[in-house]
Symmetry: C2
Subunit: 366 residues, 2 copies
């Protein structure tokens, strides 16, 4: 990862925003900028370069991992160490404005820091510069994400092997998560969703102790973290006889969601807005009267975090750019009955997109 | 869980703090108060009772889970829905002061909410009333935590079965996590730490692809979430011949940490401060010159979150009370060499404590 380039770009942006310094507090942003993977830290950018503050638990780890920043192991609370550094390095001659990460710094953290600052130093809510930069992935990142997506996709094969009537949802999740670990995943990127029967109508139905019953869908939504980067995929399978009369509506809904998903993917290219991609999915579902059962957004960015910018949702003005990695995941949900969702990850390209997820979308019954 | 009682107590405390309302934003606090287990929501307490705001993804789920609060499914951003409710229900005749959860609400969230509020309604940082209440567990919670601790402890037996020279740290973690899922755990309470060789000197050395080598310690620190409640346990095992000259120092350090851990547990009882328990552990290590290698705190509260109040650390004034559940986990770490940590969970009682973790602490070699 080219941490040097990332830090250089950020430094230019901070200068352009007329900030004297920027305090980065969100850990995925810190990892993106300097490589630290631990659980506590602040990264301060100023005229004096980058300084990374962490605590004794991460002493050895930070010295190995952190690139492009001086490491300070705080002997006190981290924000107190930041304030102490500012006391030592402030420019007495003039006001100093420090940008803070308002979307992540808590009200209490801001107050604790403000109370410790020297006079002449003030805090200002900074725009989400690092999140903006993270939206567009570089080649190193795309390669990591492709590997995570490939590993993630292999878990669905495992799910289909074990998914049968009578098996608990949590058992299917257990087999997938075990396979993920054995294949080198650090952890799952979110709690595995294995939602069967009426639970498949819950968009966030994480695997429960419920036994899977025939005559309904099972929504499988899952992802891994590999070398820090997330994957996200969803497939929906029918359990039981797919030819019966009960399955007819289900098959129709499945095919409509599949068409909506493919149409939305076909709409992805550099220059269109996120809202246009969302609209493409909804338009297909409107044809068959299913749009009102599609109640969540069409997708989201994925990278160091499972949910990051941009949001692919109604009226979103964000213009897609080459290198953005997003999910396309329309779904329809009939409360008390069942639901269907199909989700792939794609990379935005100049004239279209690269579909990362290799898994088949053919209607599948087990 | 007695949500009714929890809500009633909170209502009394909010009145005593001269707040007209309280906006609870931290999800574990919301789960504690009204039972919601999903991933997005705000709980507002006011004269009109409790109102819970969530989005369409949690429509069915919130209606099933939430006790003691009216559920509003927001059609817009959640904080905009909260503001809209306040516009409708404000008392025109007087000022309204709404307490916010300053340790969890972000600077940006506070600004978005403040910008939408009617005049006469203002926000004030509220004390951590819910965290305070959560420190002392009721019988239902203790029962859940005991079950989580029992399940967690069974994973160490699995670790000892597979932990051998040449096996990867991540393979040990995979077997433990698989066993956890099969036994009904929802997920691990934190990324499993299997830290072997020099990595055992990292207090947060999560399982890597490194193969375990003989002639060193392996620190195993792991926990599960069962019905929402966390477990946390650490054991350290020697890999290879325990009788050799290399192992002599290691055995001595192990026995010192074990004595420190047991002495700190013996110091736990209602009425002592968290700092006194921490000091008890350090005093033992000072006898053998090891205190300077014990660089983290002695423990922390555990419940719906893996780290919650109280902190068991140097000079902490918090007085322990019956029903508090805490970890006792001293460790010593020799950078580049190895580390040892031993951790149990205990419940504070009137004259002492109940040790929840059943696992033996005898020096073990595999």
């Amino acid at each position: 990862m080219d941490f040097h380039l990332r830090l250089k770009k950020l430094r230019e942006q901070v200068a352009a925003k007329r900030l004297d310094a920027l305090l980065v507090s969100h850990l995925p942003n810190i990892r993106y900028l300097c490589g630290f993977t631990g659980g506590a830290g602040f990264l301060l950018l100023s005229d004096s370069g980058f300084v990374f503050f962490t605590d004794v638990r991460y002493d050895m780890q930070s010295r190995t991992e952190v690139k492009g920043a001086r490491v300070i192991i705080a002997r006190k609370a981290l924000l107190a160490a930041v304030a102490e550094w500012l006391w030592t390095h402030r420019k007495r001659a003039r006001q100093w404005t420090i940008g803070i990460d308002a979307e992540h710094l808590t009200v209490a953290e801001k107050k604790r820091l403000a109370d410790l600052l020297p006079s002449g130093v003030r805090l200002r809510n900074a725009p989400a510069l690092v999140e903006q930069a993270r939206m567009t992935k570089d080649e190193d990142e795309l390669e990591q994400i492709r590997r995570a997506v490939q590993l993630g996709a292999s878990l669905f094969d495992r799910a289909v092997q074990v998914l049968r009537p009578g098996v608990k949802e949590s058992e299917v999740a257990a087999e997938m998560e075990y396979a993920a670990r054995r294949a080198g995943a650090e952890e799952m990127s979110f709690p595995t969703i294995i939602a069967s029967g009426p639970r498949s109508a819950l968009p966030h139905g994480r695997a429960s102790d419920q036994a899977i019953a025939a005559g309904s869908f099972v929504v499988c939504d899952f992802g891994v973290i590999l070398h820090g980067y997330c994957s996200d995929e969803a497939r929906t399978v029918w359990v039981g006889d797919p030819s019966g009369v009960i399955a007819k509506d289900a098959r129709d809904a499945y095919e409509a969601v599949k068409e909506a998903q493919q149409t939305a993917m076909a709409a992805v290219r550099s220059g269109v807005t996120a809202g246009e991609v969302d609209a493409a999915a909804r338009k297909v579902l409107r044809k068959t009267g299913l749009a009102k059962y599609f109640r969540h957004s069409t997708g989201h960015g994925v990278g160091l975090e499972i949910h990051e910018a941009p949001r692919i949702a109604v009226s979103q003005k964000e213009v897609l750019k080459p290198g953005m990695v997003i999910t396309i995941e329309p779904g329809v949900y009939f409360p008390g009955k069942w639901g269907v969702r199909i989700e792939d990850m794609v990379v935005v390209k100049e004239g279209g997109c690269e579909v990362m997820t290799p898994t088949s979308k053919d209607f599948t019954a087990v």
